[in-house]
């Protein structure tokens, strides 16, 4: 891999421009006291320099298109190029979000059908596409739960129950919604501790946020018990759909009795993660939460599609974005779902489970410890390297870094927090067996290295653009923007 590329400002020279990009000079009438005095420090480079710089930067990344990327909980599967190509048709790109609905019937029809398909795969009764990522979907969900209780005059319900294995966004979201977080433990077999649940539910319970399969990589078997307990306490059930990939077409959150679900379309429906987004956290709800859906949602009237807004859904929790969420992400998900069809949905679950269970079996055979050895893996599973850490001083982080040298992106490390020295491994259904076998071989080789030359593993990576970075220094000596040496 390319090892160094100057910061773009180092390439900058006063007066240099990518001139083809500049419109003709024009006179703007701006009162003097409101005018900018110093031009902003933006790079001054030629178009070729810009292209070369960012092309080179791109070559310093691992990505699905170049590497196996088994990042647990992130569902890094192949992002079909077709989704991008068709979402980026000039007509779709060119339309202003506030242009009359009549000018966007093609787009709106896609959105309407997407809502319907998402209803079908989740078993929910209504869908809003507007949340812009999983966490915002969670926000929408908890806000709807809150609104539901309030609408019934039930103002005392201000607690959200969250299993300790939950993703950090769950408790953070609950807090953002003004709720208190009640964490409950998980048992050694990975299931939620039902007894603990019983002790925390009560009239203050607004709801519970569950991920199923959980972030421990296993299916919550007593889901119907949980449902009953929370139900009886008057709470609602929130389904964190980040792991929907594992059960697509096999079992539906709606059938499990959930009231609301968010989906990460950038996981399950394979829209790209873009080095940090955009995502989409569409939400589905059971009948009783329908009135509270965030707006806008697409409606159909006499064969025409239109955005429904506050006037149509007066009890809505409101707007979560300036326009309509991440429309382009939604188009990509739509294309993906149409290519897969319902048969393809089921296969997503089947083959992601196959890959995960196969990889777990092979790694166990290679001498690694699964965190939940007696359980089926869902679409992901956890290894714990606490033995390696104890015996050789080689940590999960060391394994992760060394994997990069073997040409594999590292699995998720140290999440979930409750499993020590863990690697959360999610191969996804789009990887071929050979890729999994190669990964097993690399893990085995690193294990061997850990036993014979631990320092080598601890010094990894060696082949990446930089070696292991000093995170402590990064946080202590904050260097967040480039400054010229001259200044």
């Amino acid at each position: 891999m390319r090892t160094r590329e100057p910061v773009i400002f180092e390439l900058s020279r006063p007066g240099r421009t990518a001139a083809a990009q500049q419109p003709a000079p024009a006179e703007a009438v701006i009162p003097g006291h409101l005018r900018r005095r110093q031009p902003p420090m933006l790079p001054e480079v030629s178009e070729l320099q810009a292209v070369r710089h960012f092309t080179r930067l791109s070559q310093m990344n691992f990505s699905i298109d170049t590497h196996f990327y088994p990042l647990g909980s992130c569902t890094m599967k192949y992002n079909p190029k077709a989704c991008n190509a068709y979402a980026m048709l000039p007509e779709f790109l060119g339309r202003h979000p506030l242009a009359p609905d009549s000018t966007g019937q093609g787009f709106l029809e896609c959105m309407f059908e997407l809502q319907d398909m998402l209803k079908a795969v989740t078993g929910m009764k209504a869908v809003s596409l507007t949340p812009m990522a999983g966490a915002q979907g969670e926000f929408a969900g908890v806000a709807m739960i809150r609104a539901y209780h309030r609408a019934r005059g039930d103002l005392s319900r201000d607690e959200i129950i969250v299993p300790e294995a939950a993703h950090g966004t769950n408790p953070a979201t609950a807090t953002m919604c003004g709720m208190k977080v009640r964490e409950i433990p998980c048992r050694d077999d990975g299931d939620v501790d039902i007894e603990a649940l019983r002790t925390v539910v009560g009239p203050q319970t607004a709801g519970i946020m569950l991920t199923n399969p959980s972030t421990l990589g296993v299916f919550e078997r007593r889901i119907m018990d949980i449902k009953r307990i929370v139900d009886n306490a008057g709470g609602l059930l929130y389904y964190d759909g980040a792991n929907l990939n594992a059960i697509l077409g096999k079992v539906r959150p709606g059938d499990m009795g959930f009231d609301v679900i968010h989906m990460n379309l950038h996981k399950t429906f394979s829209t790209p993660h873009g080095g940090g987004g955009p995502g989409s956290g569409a939400v589905g709800v059971a009948e009783r939460l329908r009135p509270f859906l965030p707006v806008p949602v697409v409606g159909r009237e006499e064969g025409r599609y239109r955005w429904l807004d506050e006037r149509d859904l007066p009890q809505t929790i409101g707007r979560l974005s300036g326009f309509m969420g991440n429309a382009g992400v939604l188009l990509r998900a739509y294309v993906y779902m149409r290519v897969l069809g319902w048969e393809g949905m089921r296969r997503v679950a089947e083959y992601s489970a196959l890959n995960a269970n196969y990889l777990m079996s092979r790694l166990r055979a290679a001498g690694f410890d699964a965190a939940y050895p007696d359980r089926r893996a869902s679409h992901e599973f956890i290894l714990t390297l606490k033995r390696q850490a104890r015996e050789r001083g080689v940590t999960a982080m060391d394994f992760a870094k060394r994997l990069l040298d073997y040409g594999y992106h590292a699995p998720t490390t140290y999440f979930p927090l409750l499993v020590p020295e863990c690697l959360l491994i999610e191969p996804t259904e789009t990887e071929a067996k050979e890729e999994l076998d190669g990964f097993v071989a690399a893990m085995a080789a690193i294990k061997e290295e850990a036993e014979t030359d631990a320092a080598k593993v601890k010094g990894a990576p060696y082949t990446t653009p930089v070696r292991r970075l000093d995170d402590v220094r990064a946080a202590k000596q904050l260097d967040l923007t480039w400054k010229s040496a001259a200044a």
Partner: protein, 457 residues
């Protein structure tokens, strides 16, 4: 099997290794009663070719029209390199850069972005993006509450000249945490927020004041007076700004005698297509002292084991994956790809290019307003300086006019009636650097016809 590589042999070997009889067996921990066999409501699979045809047919129905709406999303020319590079697999198909050593490209791009946004807004630090401008204001308000330790009220003054959707979005997101957003009315003559309108709040515990520049009507606020007033009350100043306009306008960091405390806004104008509303991205910058209150990812430069410089996510202790319920925000996935596009956009435009775009926008809008207000029954709603939008008043019902224009291939503006009924039949129009004089003439001609027809009817 679309996107699934397994051959029959693979499946057999893999099941054997697992010790499972068939694929169904992998789901044996799921209670039988919950298992489903089919998925009504999802149509059967189509090939890429068939979906492609479908999408082309749908796109055909949404053909290009001449656009004169802004209202928070702006049509700008996007240099061809922006998306050619952004959609490269190494950028497009990477995750959030958790493994820094394997993500130096993305991390360096974010560091460059942070530098550009900080400079553009005149602030010290920037995060790596938020979802969009509207939700970004909500985050900024929540941040202000955390940052303004001296204020206990969580009261935030939000002038009515702030984008109404931003206001309702902030209400939806921030009110659950007890924030109270209080409106401030605007001056009917200039469409600006006057210090006089703030005055009744003087001496109260106010956490922050939001100032949008240019404001929703496209009018330029007297930001120095407003910022100084806010600071005098012990309130923080949250600036909502248009990044293109900042090439011409004083950056928030220089508003009043102390500068704004937090700046945020919609990043879409920086190289992101209109695309029916998203994905866009929100930016957020602040003074250094508030950095630990910022939501979202932040990248820092550090050194590696060999002492070479490199980039990594930093200050993660603010974030939900570490701090969980006590995080500065629940945001996790943000809008990385769009931020990358914006970084390339700003690089290609540079300081001169961006200034030219801004000036062209202002000039075009002046031309548009000049042209339209010569027509009978059309006049500007406000006087005073503006950037690239203007409210104009019609003597006909706005919706009917807009429909008439749409039939003529023109998307004529944003109906102000819903949020500002007091302005009468008013329309918010916008012309960016992409609108030519011919386009403006075409609008004027079409509007003439529509108004005449309406008059005749």
């Amino acid at each position: 099997m679309p996107y699934i590589p397994h051959t029959e042999d693979d499946v057999r070997e893999m099941l054997d290794a697992i010790g499972a009889s068939d694929l169904e067996a992998l789901f044996d921990e799921i209670p039988d009663s919950l298992r489903i066999e089919s998925l009504d409501g999802v149509p059967p699979a189509l090939s890429e070719m068939e979906v492609g045809r479908l999408m082309l047919d749908r796109a055909d129905r949404d053909r290009r029209r001449l656009n004169f709406i802004g209202a928070g999303a702006y049509e700008h020319h996007i240099p061809a390199p922006v998306w050619a590079i952004t959609t490269r697999g190494e950028i497009y198909s990477a995750y959030t850069p958790y493994q820094a050593e394997a993500s130096q490209g993305t991390l360096q791009a974010i560091y460059e972005y942070q530098t550009m946004m900080a400079s553009l807004t005149g602030m010290d630090v920037s995060n790596a993006s938020l979802y969009d401008g509207a939700s970004g204001l909500a985050e900024a308000c929540l941040m202000a509450v955390r940052a303004n330790r001296r204020s206990k009220s969580a009261r935030i003054l939000v002038p009515r000249t702030v984008n109404p959707t931003y206001r309702s979005c902030t209400e939806a997101i921030a009110s659950t945490q007890g924030l109270s957003l209080e409106p401030v009315d605007y001056d009917r003559r200039t469409g600006r927020t006057l210090v006089d309108a703030l005055a009744p709040h003087a001496g109260q515990d106010i956490t922050a004041v939001v100032i949008q520049q240019p404001n929703f009507f496209g009018q330029l606020e007297e930001v120095d007076e407003l910022a100084d007033w806010a600071h005098a009350q012990g309130a923080l100043v949250i600036a909502v700004v248009n990044p293109i306009a900042l090439a011409l306008l004083r950056p928030p960091g220089e508003w009043g005698s102390r500068g704004a405390d937090i700046a945020c806004g919609e990043g879409q104008p920086l190289g992101v297509p209109l695309a029916s509303g998203g994905p866009y991205f929100g930016f957020l910058t602040a003074r250094r002292e508030h950095v630990r209150q910022m939501p979202g990812r932040i990248v820092g430069r550090t050194v590696d084991l060999d002492g070479r410089s490199g980039f990594t996510l930093t200050l993660q202790a603010r974030e939900q994956h570490i701090r969980r319920g006590k995080a500065t925000s629940n945001i996790c996935t943000n809008q990385g790809l769009l931020m990358t596009a914006a970084t390339i956009y700003m690089t290609l435009l540079g300081p001169t290019g961006l200034e030219r775009v801004a000036a062209a926008c202002a000039a075009r809008t002046a031309e548009l307003v000049g042209k339209l207000t010569t027509l009978d029954g059309v006049r500007p709603s406000f006087e005073g300086a503006r950037f690239h939008e203007a409210a104009i008043r019609l003597d006909r019902p706005v919706q009917a006019v807009l429909e008439g224009l749409a039939e003529r291939g023109i998307v004529g503006g944003y109906d102000l009636g819903r949020h500002y009924p007091e302005l009468g039949q008013a329309l918010l129009v916008c012309a960016t650097e992409t609108r030519t004089s011919e386009d403006i003439d075409a609008y004027a001609t079409a509007l003439t016809q529509v108004l005449e027809r309406a008059a005749a009817a």
